[in-house]
């Protein structure tokens, strides 16, 4: 196993265990069956925490604090060596869980794991990296020792092929010249994180192959049930199979759109009716959410809908988009998809919310959440206001919004019936 070790050897013991693994190979250690599962759940808590933090639009500093906190509460054990072991074990167990993507999970969930592990790695790398002042001092020292003028820390950079720092290229955080990226010292974490991600991505494919060919069968009485249970244990319900409310007809949809669609879907549905057309992003977002073959939809977007069902094209059953995915989408010209709380201008959002019947104080509260980039909380407030009912879990998925809304409305109907209203 390769360890990235920080330079900081001395200093206080509180900052001890300055080690991050790249998890190049699985450890050859014995693991108690309990730990196998518990460690994995603890790590999932960390990843889920990071995922929630990112989807709430937390700033980098806030994220750093959050990750450090998550790591401390869930992963830190008494001994440094124990923590390291737990880190490695839990990582490899989750690899088993998430490598199986192609069968039980949607591709999205493997991506989710990949992204969250990389994010975790990135933050940990940052904690463990020597700060730039330190490097600057050392480099100045080196410079002076060989009789060169003192270098400014800002002037340190690395020259790498741009492919190696894709992430920095996408944010234009490097200078590009003739196919090379010039990377400032303080951006170096991206170099390593990219490497980490690509190694992990490849490893997941290999693990998956091994899992299906041998491990699953060999371990069918011991590890297989645990691994399979883990895949559903923490991420909430899997909406790719949701059929709770059965087939819905076009007529019903109009009514349901008004009563139980979250704003993002309501907006798409309205635009579809107005313009009889949606661009790809919108078709996917709405089509996967609906998962119903209403006639009109079927006729106009036969391919698209059947594609979404997995009947055509790659024949995979696509999972409806989660809030996180919708929030992070990037609608362009002519697009109506995305999260209205994030992608609408304030004026348009106010108008849209007004149409849903949100007003007064609630409107201000919602806009306040939006300004602080808590889009899911803004949606939750909207839900609570419209349904006059609390939603403690918060809104994490458009289909959850729908299901919860239906639950509330059905209860109300029952109560009305009981009271004979």
């Amino acid at each position: 196993m390769e360890i990235v070790r920080s330079q900081r050897k001395t200093s206080d013991s509180a900052a001890a265990a300055p080690t991050i693994s790249l998890y190049r190979s699985a450890p050859n250690i014995e693991v108690r069956l309990d730990d196998f599962e518990l460690f994995a759940i603890d790590r999932l808590r960390v990843l889920k925490g990071i995922s929630d933090g990112l989807s709430r639009g937390k700033k980098p500093e806030e994220m750093e604090k959050l990750v450090s906190e998550l790591w401390r509460t869930n992963m830190r054990l008494q001994e440094q060596s124990e923590t390291m072991e737990k880190d490695v074990i839990s990582h490899f167990v989750l690899r088993l869980v998430y490598c199986r993507t192609f069968f039980v999970f949607s591709e999205d969930q493997r991506k989710w794991f990949l992204s969250m592990e990389t994010a975790l790695f990135r933050y940990r790398f940052r904690f463990e990296s020597p700060d730039s002042q330190n490097v600057k001092d050392k480099l100045n020292q080196v410079a002076r020792s060989i009789g060169q003028p003192v270098v400014n820390a800002d002037a340190i950079f690395f020259k790498v092929p741009f492919e190696e720092v894709a992430e920095l290229v996408s944010n234009r955080r490097v200078f590009l010249f003739k196919g090379y990226a010039y990377v400032a010292m303080n951006q170096v974490v991206s170099l390593v994180a990219t490497q980490f991600r690509s190694l992990l991505s490849k490893a997941l494919v290999l693990t998956n192959r091994k899992w299906t060919s041998t491990i699953r069968e060999q371990e069918k009485d011991r590890l297989t049930p645990i691994v399979e249970a883990l895949s559903t244990s923490y991420l909430g319900p899997d909406y790719s199979q949701a059929k709770e409310f059965g087939e819905v007809s076009l007529k019903d949809i109009e009514q349901l759109a008004n009563s139980s669609f979250p704003l993002c879907m309501r907006h798409l549905f309205e635009k579809l009716r107005e313009e009889h057309h949606l661009k790809h992003g919108g078709r996917m977002q709405l089509g996967l959410f609906l998962k119903v073959g209403s006639e009109r939809f079927d006729k106009e977007y036969a391919y698209s809908i059947r594609h979404n069902y997995g009947k055509e094209g790659k024949r995979t059953d696509y999972t409806p988009y989660s809030c996180q995915k919708i929030i992070s989408s990037t609608p362009g010209v002519g697009d109506h998809h995305g999260c209205p709380y994030r992608h609408f201008s304030e004026e348009n959002l106010r108008a849209a919310l007004g149409k849903m019947g949100v007003g007064g104080r609630t409107m201000d509260d919602v806009m306040d959440k939006v300004r602080n980039r808590h889009y899911q909380l803004a949606c939750t407030l909207t839900f609570e206001s419209i349904h006059a009912s609390s939603c403690d879990a918060g809104i994490n998925h458009p289909n959850q919004y729908f299901t919860d809304s239906q639950k509330v409305l059905k209860t109300k109907v029952t109560i009305f019936k009981l009271l004979d209203i």
């Binding site: 290229v169 996408s170 234009r172 003739k178 609608p331």
Partner: protein
């Protein structure tokens, strides 16, 4: 203008039904379509004549044909120039799309799937870009949707200039082909070996590098430039291409400040409401007394710039706003999804657009301002010309 000179010729030709005609297409594929050149290009030297070449290379490339009545034939593959030519001449596709080079022959993908281990996956693909004029509908007033004219086409010229320069200077690519898409836009094929081997993530990164325009239909402010200075790429694009184009061409060409509706759209980009209101009042109450001489578009743009740069509004945000306006109106708008994935299909060069009948001809990026989409040869012209000659 040049078009006037062409008119008599066009009238002669117009005795033949203009646009698209399957019979003409047959003639075109039979006599003019550059089958051999396409094969040579797509082989990238893997043609059996060079030592160490990969003979299976061309045969693993996906071609997709669209036949009459929207019948799609996907995953077609061919092992030689002759096979390719025969298939095209026989099927006479209305549209030919080119996909990636896969790990195995795409036509036999099911057979390989039986074996288990041989994963059918894209291995190589040109880095492609698709720029479509219909994405510019909010900044052009001459046409909309699928229509283009010589007033709005320069937006494409600007896109080519900005992109071509960055692909060469920033990314170090050399083998770049620009093609007219046949109706309302341009396609770009970056063919360097390095470009063909980019992963999806790396493609997305390149596309994002170019991404400035983020507007959806529900937000007035489409471009948001942050930071105290622009990234070198954006700064260069701005000073070398966009600014001049905006002021010298687009401003008057599209009459950007001529009506209240038009200038209100620009004022909506200014974050400071009082500044926007001040300009709005000035232009609305533009009585004779205060009208300076000259084209109102130029005058108002100068006023806007002056107001935003003046000492009164020193906020850096307002100064940046001038750049944001220029970027909103001129910066290339890419169809991001096309560039991000290896397995996206793109129409082959030299196809004939089924709606306009125009041939998808290459555009020389060094002389892209000379390109005139209304003068591109149409199927009816080229096929008949050639028959006459032979």
């Amino acid at each position: 203008m040049l078009i006037d000179g062409h008119e008599p010729v066009q009238q002669q030709v117009s005795t033949i039904p203009k646009g698209f005609n399957p019979d003409h297409l047959k003639v075109y594929y039979g006599k003019l379509f550059p089958h051999a050149d396409i094969f040579k290009w797509m082989s990238y030297g893997n043609d059996g004549k060079h030592p160490g070449c990969d003979l299976s290379y061309f045969g693993r490339r996906e071609f997709s044909f669209t036949l009459e009545n929207d019948i799609y034939l996907r995953f077609q593959s061919f092992n030689s120039a002759t096979e390719l030519e025969h298939a095209i001449r026989e099927k006479c596709p209305f549209k030919i799309d080119i996909g990636p080079v896969y790990s195995v022959d795409p036509a036999k993908r099911h057979a390989y799937a039986q074996g288990g281990d041989n994963v059918f996956t894209p291995m190589e693909r040109e880095l492609i870009f698709d720029i479509d004029m219909s994405d510019y509908d909010d900044v052009r007033y001459c046409c909309s949707g699928a229509d283009v004219c010589l007033d709005c086409w320069p937006l494409m010229t600007v896109a080519i200039k900005v992109m071509d320069r960055a692909l060469r200077d920033d990314f170090g690519f050399d083998h770049i082909l620009w093609v007219y898409s046949g109706r309302r836009g341009v396609h770009c094929w970056v063919c360097d070996r390095r470009a063909r081997r980019l992963t999806n993530e790396q493609r997305a990164a390149v596309a994002d590098y170019f991404r400035v325009y983020k507007g959806s239909e529900n937000n007035a402010k489409k471009v948001s430039l942050t930071g105290p200075v622009l990234h070198p790429f954006l700064a260069r694009s701005y000073t070398d291409v966009l600014e001049v184009f905006f002021e010298k061409k687009l401003l008057c060409g599209q009459q950007l400040f001529s009506t209240q509706e038009k200038y209100e759209k620009i004022l909506a980009i200014i974050p400071d409401e009082s500044t926007a209101a001040e300009l709005h009042d000035r232009w609305q109450g533009n009585r004779r007394s205060s009208i300076p001489k000259g084209d109102p578009n130029i005058v108002r743009w100068e006023q806007l710039k002056h107001t935003l740069q003046s000492g009164k509004h020193k906020g850096q945000g307002l100064r940046r706003c001038i750049e944001e306006i220029v970027f909103s109106y001129t910066y290339p708008r890419l169809d991001m999804e096309v560039s991000k994935h290896m397995n996206h299909l793109l129409k082959a060069p030299f196809c004939v657009h089924p709606k306009t009948g125009r041939v998808c001809v290459p555009i020389d990026p060094d002389h892209c301002e000379d390109f005139d989409p209304t003068a591109v040869p149409a199927l009816s012209e080229v096929s008949s010309l050639k028959t006459v000659e032979t």
